[in-house]
């Protein structure tokens, strides 16, 4: 390559630690974190489906974990991450159309994702428990 030093001198954009933390930036990071953590959720789904396909004994083991306090907490966080990532994704789909990119809209989207994901997760669990107690 010879004595080409252009690459080394090329200016770098500042890393995100430089910036004052902003809500929209945190939501962007949260979208990545929720997405990556859903990989763990996918393993849990596989574990559950394999257990059901393997028969009653395997199912009992997995089911006792998911029915425990820790298991329920993990599932609650999983469903929250799913809904959070889903709302964040819908926000991205809207942006793909070229709409909602102004400062006011992105703030509304950020708060909408936080409040919406929490509310919808709670609603899903309350509905689930209500349906099960009614059945």
């Amino acid at each position: 390559m010879g004595n080409n030093t252009t690459e080394a001198r090329r200016p770098l954009s500042p890393h995100f630690q430089i910036y004052r933390p902003m809500l929209t930036m945190m939501m962007s990071i949260a979208h990545r974190i929720s997405g990556a953590s859903l990989a763990i959720g996918f393993v849990l789904l596989a574990w559950w489906l394999i257990a059901v396909s393997s028969g009653p004994d395997a199912f009992t083991t997995v089911n006792s974990f998911f029915a425990s306090i820790i298991g329920r907490l993990v599932l609650f966080l999983f469903s929250w991450a799913l809904i959070h990532h889903m709302l964040g994704g819908i926000r991205h789909l809207i942006w793909d159309t070229g709409h909602g990119l102004d400062k006011t809209s992105i703030e509304i989207f950020a708060w909408g994702t936080i409040i919406g994901s929490t509310a919808l997760t709670l609603l899903a669990w309350v509905t689930g428990y209500w349906l099960r107690s009614a059945a």
Partner: protein, 124 residues
């Protein structure tokens, strides 16, 4: 912002490049109803006995939706995880290794779920 169509038509030297973007959006749209279905399936079956859960997953429409979710989500997950690695892992060797690992993981989990669903549906 807007790219002139004439430039896009050629798609540059590689003559391709938007498939991943489009696939991620397509699976994202598909995942919306499927994820709602998954969450409702979870919250209505926590702590339920074996037979009701097996019978539920063996119902054709439930199995179909679950299979669609597994396929769509594993494609979406593979693209997403690859993107994270491409952004943060810079060493050439480590990057290639991580990309392979992530692809094998996504395909493996997707296949495992598919096999389980097929087994449940066929009742074996």
């Amino acid at each position: 912002m807007a790219t002139p169509l004439a430039k896009v038509r050629g798609l540059g030297a590689a003559h391709r490049g938007t498939e991943t973007f489009w696939r991620q959006r397509m699976t994202a749209v598909a995942n919306i109803p499927l994820v709602i279905f998954l969450i409702l399936s979870i919250v209505t079956h926590i702590g339920a006995d074996y037979e009701p859960v097996r019978a539920y997953l063996a119902r054709p429409l439930v199995a179909l939706a679950m299979l669609a979710l597994v396929i769509s989500a594993s494609i979406h997950m593979r693209i997403g995880l690859k993107e994270i690695i491409e952004d943060y892992v810079h060493g050439q060797g480590a990057k290639v290794a991580a990309l392979l690992l992530v692809s094998f993981f996504a395909i493996g989990v997707g296949l495992a779920c598919t096999l389980a669903l097929v087994k449940i549906s066929l009742g074996s």
